[in-house]
Amino acid sequence: MQQIIDLIQTYSLLRMLIAFLVLIGIVFLNAIVMGYLERKIAARIQRRWGPMEIGVQGWLQMILDGVKMLAKQLIVPRDADRFLFRLAPLLCFTPVVMIFAALPFSKALYGINLHIGLIYIIAMASINVFAILIAGWSSNNKYSMFGAMRSVAQNIAYEIPILLSLLSVVLTTASFDLQKIVEAQSGWLWFAVYPNLFVAFVIYLIAGCAETNRAPFDLPEAESELTAGFHTEYSGFGFGLFAVAEYGNLFIMASIASIMFLGGWNGPFGLASGPLMGAFWFLSKVFVLMLVMIWVRWTYPRVRFDQLMNLAWKYLIPFSLVNLLITAFLVKMI
């Protein structure tokens, strides 16, 4: 008996190890694909071609950039806190992989299924703020510090509407288990169809945009004001890891949106959603959402800081609170 338990334990450990290695690969692959798409789409929006010469339509461009970045000199500024300075990119990157492990790509395809998956993911996503603050603080650079402070203020403000809008889904399904939440949406009744949850979906998208420090809310790295924000002093792959983690966070944001509101791995029109087709539907929903984020980023100008804070505290939080109350009322009545 003991032997069997040991075997299962080693097997699950092996499974976790393989899952983590594959997921690290997926995180980097995601960064390469998204970086390429972002550069191409930005170019098309500005009536340019984008990368063209390296490979067909420049598809090798991001790989070349990655190799170049690996070969850059790593500078640690003299007055920087050496240990924290080196720690920050890793602290930014690791939680991304840990969250990827908990995402249900399809019914059978996931790293680990937790019955508190949503709480776990939100908790891990909050470490990102910590990493950015460490990066800004340890660089000993005023621009980095400003960027980090802005990022902390912004992420703390926007975590509240995210939590409140996700909570209305949790009220509806009475579960934190992501697989159960996806299964509750089987068939055609995705949660974004319900009017109250659609409001939550829109609030989540706006707040998620700000949470990933992108689009009209990229104040932490506002290039025209703060050289490059919190990663001003990072060269080579320190900066590369921040970029990879940023695209990873974008993926997580989009996948949470698709799991909670757009039916996760459920196909539209009741189409087949087996282990592989489910992953296909899930990834296509995630990529459509991410392309929308890129589209928004290259279309709208940056907001001012007071506008950003007003949007969170005066509009998103009250709206999501009221929405939560309405959802609770509906759940109780129906």
Binding site: A43, W49, E53, I54, L64, V67, Q73, A228, S235
Partner: protein
């Protein structure tokens, strides 16, 4: 006496800076990587094809530099459109315009802040030799940015056209890899289509 000690401390500071830079150059990851998993040539091709320039404009040449990044000319085709605002993240310093004596320390600082494999393009006559300012009455213009920092490629013109800057970047790629980059060069049509209205 105070003046002398100040000079001494400044000298010590620059000496320590230089030592630190040399230390960094020894630690330079490129050499290690090329020994471990990449041949030097592959690494050079990668470096040549993703030259990220600095967001750094000095005078009217900067307008042409901006035009090079925009539609119609578009240096993004060669992977060189990522204008990084921080000196730590870029490979290429395009000195685009007149460098006067007040700007010179800033140019040197920016150059020294860039991490190790780095290149410089002197764009326009002012950056090459002072251009129209290289006259007897000149009192504040550095006659040529190569008096301050080493320059890899010179692009003449006042200001040079965006096509000239593209050609300069291609020349720099040639210098890095020892051959014309990128691989299959896209040919422009010989006779551009004339749109009749």
């Amino acid at each position: 006496m105070g003046e002398e000690s100040k000079i001494k401390s400044i000298n010590a500071f620059t000496q320590s800076l230089r030592e630190e830079y040399e230390q960094g150059a020894i630690e330079h990851q490129g050499a290690m990587l090329s020994q471990l998993l990449l041949t030097d040539k592959v690494l050079k091709v990668c470096q040549a094809n993703s030259l990220w320039p600095m967001t750094f404009g000095l005078a009217c040449c900067a307008i042409e530099m901006m035009a090079t990044g925009m539609a119609r000319i578009d240096m993004a085709r060669y992977g060189a459109e990522v204008f990084r605002p921080s000196a730590r993240q870029c490979d290429l310093l395009i000195v685009s315009g007149t460098v006067n004596k007040k700007m010179a320390p800033a140019v040197i600082t920016l150059y020294e802040q860039m991490p190790a494999p780095k290149w410089v393009i002197a764009m326009g006559n002012c950056a090459i030799s002072g251009g129209p300012f290289a006259v007897e009455e000149n009192y504040n213009v550095i006659e040529g940015v190569d008096r301050l920092i080493p320059v890899d490629v010179y692009i003449p013109g006042c200001p040079p056209r965006p096509e000239a800057l593209i050609e300069g970047i291609l020349k720099l790629q040639e210098k890095i890899t020892g051959g014309r980059q990128p691989w299959p060069q896209r040919k422009m049509p010989e006779k551009p289509e004339v749109i009749k209205i």
